[in-house]
Subunit: 375 residues, 2 copies
């Protein structure tokens, strides 16, 4: 499966679109996050502001600040993070009586992302920015750079500030050992990604891909960034693999839902065995280890926080709301593999599964936020 072609949020602005299933603060609804992301963004904001303040505390601060948002997703919310960065720079400059820089912002996501939807909201974004900040501000140019961030996207020494919010838990590919048809193939029975009951070999296979991906991400950014450039990353973290972990991720619940449909004869078992998400949420130690072994970046701050699978401001039960949000994120991947599956049916069952789980458990996931500086 060509991940770059298949993986994208639901486009447009219909009932199941990503744009209509994320709140203002939820710009990149991640797998396992839903509207809880609202809390995540809120919690990461001080780190973002601190990072920008430090970037601008140096004497040779850039007159044209080049920013990349990697894994920007689609919808009007995509621009809310741009706005947060612009506001933070503006505030820092005001405090030190400096003129705010010209902004050149690059929104990045895979080529299948619905960039058209983002572009349609650009004129009003720019107009409101100019109106609030005054004509002496900026300007702020917003471009798109489609492509995989597990590889080069920009020329050498081009970027001053890089941000990636809830995207780095997506892998560039499903581990080969899980999809290879050779004798040694590992089967992740009844699961669609790393789960509590996955065999050790499955964990190892996913972890290897994470190591390679994340190292390539850091190496690529290192080449693209100026020395002293800053980077703020948030990623879904994991306690999976530790024996004490008894809670589920939403993806385990999705795996169970699909397995129920195998038992009812609606999906062939081999079809489910052949489906694995290009998704791995790393532990804190795994993130730190790769950053340190790659060696281009110094860790300034490293934080974690728990986030509820919370759903606010939508009609319907919590299960339905969570399912609707996951649908906006994952339908392209699921539909591509289970070609004849009734998606309405699947997500109704999934909503029920989520609701049952939330009656017994709180439903939380971990966010890892890290602020880096290029050495």
């Amino acid at each position: 499966m060509e991940m770059e072609q298949v993986l994208h949020m639901n486009g447009g602005d219909g009932k199941t679109s990503y744009a209509n299933n994320s709140t203002i603060q939820v710009r990149s609804v991640p797998l396992t996050l839903f509207l809880g992301h609202k809390q995540g963004m809120h919690k990461a904001k001080p780190m973002l502001e601190d990072s920008i303040k430090m970037l601008y505390s140096s004497n040779n601060f850039p007159k044209c600040l080049k920013i990349a948002d990697l894994g920007c997703s689609s919808g009007p919310n995509t621009l809310s993070l741009v706005r947060e960065i612009v506001d933070a720079v503006d505030e820092t400059c005001r405090c030190s009586d400096r003129k705010a820089p010209v902004f050149q912002v690059f929104l990045n996501d895979l080529p299948g992302n619905d960039f058209n939807a983002v572009f349609r909201s650009l004129p009003s974004f720019t107009a409101s920015l100019m109106e609030e900040k005054g004509s002496n501000f900026g300007p702020c140019f917003v471009a798109a750079m489609p492509g995989s961030f597990y590889g080069r996207l920009f020329p050498n020494g081009f970027l001053h500030f890089v941000h990636s919010s809830y995207s780095l838990h997506w892998r560039s590919r499903v581990p080969e050992r899980l999809v290879s048809e050779s004798a040694g193939a590992v089967v992740n029975k009844g699961n669609i990604c790393m789960a509590n009951n996955s065999p050790h070999d499955v964990h190892k296979a996913y972890l290897d891909v994470f190591d390679t991906d994340f190292k390539l991400f850091l190496r690529s950014r290192s080449e693209e960034m100026v020395p002293g450039g800053h980077m703020v990353l948030t990623v879904v973290g994991s306690g999976i693999g530790t024996p004490s972990s008894k809670t589920c991720t939403v993806w385990e619940l999705m795996g169970m839902t699909l397995y129920d449909m195998v038992l009812e004869g609606l999906i062939e078992e081999a079809k489910l065995d052949g489906f694995n998400l290009p998704y791995y949420a790393p532990t804190c130690e795994e993130v730190k280890r790769v950053i340190q072994s790659e060696g281009s970046f110094k860790i300034r701050r490293f934080e974690t926080y728990k986030i509820d699978w919370d759903v606010n401001g939508k009609n319907g039960t919590r299960g339905e709301n969570v399912a609707r949000n996951i649908r906006a994120v994952a339908e392209s991947l699921l539909g591509n593999h289970f070609t004849n599956l009734n998606m309405d049916d699947l997500f109704e069952r999934f909503a029920k599964k989520i609701a049952d789980y939330l009656e017994k458990e709180r439903g939380q996931c971990t966010t890892i936020a890290v602020s880096l500086i290029k050495a």
Copy 2:
């Protein structure tokens, strides 16, 4: 009417899409050009190559070449011009035993343009480029910068090479005097843009907008380009306004088609009176005058050539083919104004009108190609 929101080529890849109604060489089907653009692109190629050769003949040629294609339109063909530029640079570097630069290409069009379609063909574009040129080449990063080129799009001194193909005959707006409801409004009876029988005041009104637009275009590019940077522009030119001109543009024929529908009671006359295209094809003298009065650019080459309204490689009559191409370009504008008009009916009548005209006249238009260097 907010031109920036309304004016865009038909998106997607359906029967009436821009992508399916332009040949490989026709990347930005202009009003009045159709597939004759194939000839236009072919004729402008030596000027493009010459311009790039000169850019790279200087000793301080850029290691990362920043290129903008303004008015890039949508569809797989959009990238064919990028390929032409990359090939020309590569060829020039090979001849002088230099390593080809890193390319950073910015595709620009209005925010309503279907950039998604362009992005979908990016992975195969990049893959074939790397395969043909070898891994030592480039890389070539292709980004999108949505917005009006009648204003700033990039930071100061950012671009080395700017190209715009068959886009600068589009105006930023319809002249106010034509749409104002005040007593002094000029009515362009039975026409939808400058026509042979338009009143002198209408010509003056369009020319004023052209002057303002083109000056703003040049001033904006002047600020965005490095000194010594090159720019190649092609634009539909006009002999309209000279008393000897008896031929029609396709837009005059579209005006006649719409007026026929007024006479049949299918369109209200006031509705047609209120419709004017944001389109003006300047004369050579008008183009030269604005370049010289703006003063930032030196004219290196200035050429004109006639191009047939030719249609090759499509099923159907010449009239039908021409109409189909114009539909891909103009349906968004027409549909936005004539909200309840049957578009199939309109374009069938238009095809007939074109066919009748082509029985008597050759059907040609003028292209102006100009190569500029920033002083």
